[in-house]
Symmetry: C2
Subunit: 316 residues, 2 copies
Amino acid sequence: MKNKDFLAVELSKVEEHLLKTLKTRSKMVEESLERFIKSGGKRLRPTLTIIGATFGEYKSEVVVPLATSIEIIHMATLIHDDIVDDAETRRGTRTVQSTLGKNTAVYCGDFLFTRAFMLIADMAEIDMMKDLSKAIAFICDSEIDQNEQRYDQTVDVRKYLKRIAGKTAALFSLSIAVGAHKAGCDKKITSKLTNIGKNIGMAFQIVDDILDFTGNEKTVGKPLLSDAKQGIFTLPIIYSLNSSYREETIKAIEMIKDDGGERLMHCVINSGGLERTKGLARKFIKKALKIKDTLPDGYGKEAITEIIERQLDRKF
Amino acid sequence: MKNKDFLAVELSKVEEHLLKTLKTRSKMVEESLERFIKSGGKRLRPTLTIIGATFGEYKSEVVVPLATSIEIIHMATLIHDDIVDDAETRRGTRTVQSTLGKNTAVYCGDFLFTRAFMLIADMAEIDMMKDLSKAIAFICDSEIDQNEQRYDQTVDVRKYLKRIAGKTAALFSLSIAVGAHKAGCDKKITSKLTNIGKNIGMAFQIVDDILDFTGNEKTVGKPLLSDAKQGIFTLPIIYSLNSSYREETIKAIEMIKDDGGERLMHCVINSGGLERTKGLARKFIKKALKIKDTLPDGYGKEAITEIIERQLDRKF
């Protein structure tokens, strides 16, 4: 039977596999990627892959490279995101782009993408290849949308949800789906798990966007209000723009560089925007829990429950 | 029998397939990618794939998506290169990064990579997937090397050749190899073609580096001396640094922003650096022709001869 150390043991294997897979010609790049790996991160996506696989016949030697490839894809998108966002820090340590420069960071991201594809090709997983390619294309599409929607005061909840479905939830649902699929789960269970993954992803991103306002800079590992400062309007702002605080919110956004976001913070709190955002996150959590209830009892069900419930009160 | 229109017909199918494959959610991105496609380019890599396939049983419906995926990978690397190089123009038209911004350009490149992988996954070509992933990783490695070697006066011919083997020749040899492989050529012929592709790639990149000095800006489609201005030392400079003109060359590089590269041009010509560079390009061409001679007679042999011979006196 799987005890409570099981997940930690499997994740430590993923960690080892990550370090092994990222060997490359340039010592500087290797060190920078190693620092990035060792700076941690929640490893939520590989966790989902592992849990997904426990619903079928769990084979560590198959699940570990699978989970690793998913985390590498995620790391690649983070490195490219940091270029776009001009981010200095991530997970409390300096980003690849800030240590090696944007130039090298572009290729580091590409390098990671191909490393992940090589892992998957080694597993001869054509279907996973297709799904993963689709998920990455979806992520790119949504990031491009997000860029095009900068400073657009007409962005509404629908567009926001579409954006985060692509940029976050797609990879979450895929993470758990490939685990389940590879362990030979039946279609019904795999589809339930995929759906749970999607809802966790939606909640995760919404909570991320809340933390951009309410988080502790040190715990979150990056400066607060970083999205708003770049004109990316997330849910708290969208709700605030769609309330009686609209004019005040518009002014607050214009003044963000002068007052460091103080007025904007006032708007999202007093308009109820932040509360409504939390409410929506709770909805996705509830949906995930409801589907989870229909899963067969056992280790996997308990583990996924913990993951779902942890989302609402996470601090980083 | 394949007549002289054959290649043009097949390439026009690749062109169609390129446009079809690049449909995406964002109109702005789609238009920008369409402009990029329509700005032309030599389509040398898909040409090699097509020619490679003529040595076996040629099936257009198989070769066209294969050749398209190779060109898409190439396009993705160009878009990321242009971000790194801050390039305003490419093929005489504005680059994706200069029209849509670096941010969107990062994701456009990623988007193209995944589109290519999706095409290949559709063909269920696991081996090609692996080879292509390896080739892209090799390209990334070499571009990172190139970045790390900026302004390094100790870069020698060996390091230069290693760099261009990765950043250019790897994809050239793969382009022709996948064509041959997919058409069921025997191993001996595929290996010869792969080797020819590699030598064409080496010559191609060396000629590119010559054109950065001697080309016509309008014909080449980008500003001259762009590598030198970024501290990337290509073969003409390396030879010049390894001649009695070393001190003059070092000074000329330092002054490039003041005199627009006039002194440097003087150095690479008078040191014989440019001539020696041409000599090395000719060596690779000769090697390619020598291997070509051992190929079976027919359309493919004629076509590849023309491609090889065209490299030396190309103007763009």
